[in-house]
Amino acid sequence: MTPTASSTESSAPTSGVFDDVVRSDSSLRRFLHGLPGVDQVGAEARAAGLATRSVKTTSKAYAIDLAIRMVDLTTLEGQDTHGKVRALAAKAMRPDPADPTCPATAAVCVYPDMVATARQTLGDSGVHVAAVATAFPSGRAAMDIKLADTRDAVEAGADEIDMVIDRGAFLSGRYLDVYEEIAQVREACNRPDGTGAHLKVIFETGELQTYDNVRRASWLAMMAGAHFIKTSTGKVQPAATLPVTLVMLEAVRDFRDQTGQMVGVKPAGGIRTTKDAIKYLVMVNETCGADWLTPDWFRFGASTLLNDLLMQRTKMTTGRYSGPDYFTLD
């Protein structure tokens, strides 16, 4: 676990590089529509090609442990209780109680009203508390409500805020509205002592229709100061896919080339097996390089994935196949 990057410095969003771009709605549109188009067939072929790599033995053991450390263990259900969140937090700190060498996950991800419970259970274990805010998952609420939602979560002890963008505004071309929304929520993530919660911006790529839109949304969020860009809420199908994540990874890579700032990526929803997780890790390494292969810059939003990772881990340490009976359901 390296919790250093979170909850620390919060430099001004992109400090001046894009001042001209975000001056007006039309200049922002000109910039976003001027980004090179995504070759859909090419992106899907590239993602499928990277998914064929075979990762075995010691590399696989390394990948599994890394993937566990990258998991944002998530419960976002109407039926969540404080008891369930406590159980989930306990699991995040010690995913496999039978094996002390098993690393902790990066964070638990809960609704804002559960943040205090999660914070209390996690204490100073190093596992972060991430809260979804801004009227998750639809994002359909007035701006002041979204900001209050965010401040509540930060006050309750959230280290990371997962916000959703207003897809209606984005799809109808009101890019500046989306930009300002992200910038304001980022503002709301600041704490009185000068530190701030990390901001992850969820695009809900399943509703953005095209890869071009995913690329535009990525740049928009990065210019507005997102620390992380995240594919989906997990409530809409399709959720995270390899090609969508590839487009976002290319965006963060190009963004660093241009501005020197690193932005993290978090695919969420639909990643259920170790095999899938390893495909994502291969793609991160091949697209952005090893700099991104840490929990500070790449996360998985998942719940069932962790159990499959633990089963594979147990298979590698004991030499026999494990079963779902031996791990907690949530």
């Binding site: 030499g319 026999r320 196949y321 494990s322 079963g323 779902p324 009976d325 031996y326």
Partner: protein, 288 residues
């Protein structure tokens, strides 16, 4: 006039989760007929195929064990019906694989169909026979009922059709789901039987058929923590059987030991059903 038509040959694959995939390993092995001539190639399953089969069997278990016993009987009877309709194909396969006479092949297919019907009849009767209303010293009902164990791994005996049917049918009528390693020498009929099961309203994953080396695959199934029982009927090597039994102890699997000299034509007893069932006893607080 010489025929110019090209032969359409069947590729024998595995039967996992209601599908017929090739082995994940891409391997196959040669299957000879009774006279040692090439009959066909069969898929040679790997440990990963076994793992996938267990996942499929586990996924199918809830739905299959949750069906009424009466409905399971109907489905198994349906397998018998479809098998009867394709008897000529099976007789031909048995003659080719084992070199038996036409009369003998017919007798084996007859017996396999009858065996399925016999077990189908047991589906909604086994609970009455091995379950019980227990007398207790208090004003309670105390009822014991048999329930399926879960996912059962089976090493099938040599009989390509009758042997296979005789080990699989008793497990599925009681609500278990099965991963069966077909006879190594005679795997082809097992895959053809998979085609029968795939078209008999049997949900995908209830029966999964692997073909290949028993010595290679069986240890993975024996040590698999998500397998609840293992039937070693077809294990010929005593050392391998002992090793499998030791591995099976890791998660307290129910084990059925090898039975090399079974006469498959004889009427079976209930043991093949009851060995892989658990007894659930319930105290019912409203008394007699």
């Amino acid at each position: 006039m010489a025929s110019t038509r090209i032969d359409v040959r069947k590729t024998y694959k595995l039967y996992i989760g209601g599908q017929f995939p090739r082995s994940e390993s891409g391997r196959s092995y040669v299957v000879n007929d009774a006279k040692g001539r090439l009959l066909a190639n069969a898929a040679q399953a790997s440990r990963k195929d076994a793992r996938d089969a267990v996942v499929a069997a586990r996924a199918a278990f809830g739905g299959w064990s949750g069906r009424t016993a009466y409905n399971r009987a109907q489905v198994v009877y349906r397998i018998a019906e479809v098998l009867e309709g394709r008897r000529e194909q099976f007789e031909a396969e048995l003659r080719a694989a084992e070199g038996v006479s036409p009369g003998r092949a017919r007798a084996y297919v007859d017996a396999a169909v009858d065996r399925l019907v016999w077990y189908a009849g047991w589906a909604d009767k086994i609970a009455q026979v091995v379950g019980n209303a227990n007398p207790v010293a208090g004003p309670y009902f105390n009822l014991s009922t048999p329930e399926p164990s879960g996912v059962i791994a089976v090493v099938a005996p040599r009989g390509p059709l009758l042997g296979l049917v005789s080990v699989v049918a008793p497990l599925i009528v009681t609500g278990n789901t099965v991963v069966v390693i077909a006879s190594e020498q005679h795997p082809l009929t097992a895959i053809t039987l998979g085609e029968v099961m795939a078209t008999s309203d049997l949900p995908g994953g209830v029966v999964n058929v692997l073909t290949g080396s028993v010595a290679e695959i069986a240890p993975w199934l024996a040590s698999h923590m998500d397998v609840n029982g293992i039937d070693l009927t077809g294990v010929a090597d005593p050392a391998l059987a002992a090793q499998l039994e030791v591995s099976a102890a890791d998660n307290l699997k129910r084990v059925r030991r090898p039975a090399p000299d079974t006469d498959w034509l004889a009427e079976p007893d209930l043991d093949r059903m009851t060995r892989f069932m658990e007894t659930k006893t319930v105290w019912h607080p409203i008394g007699v």
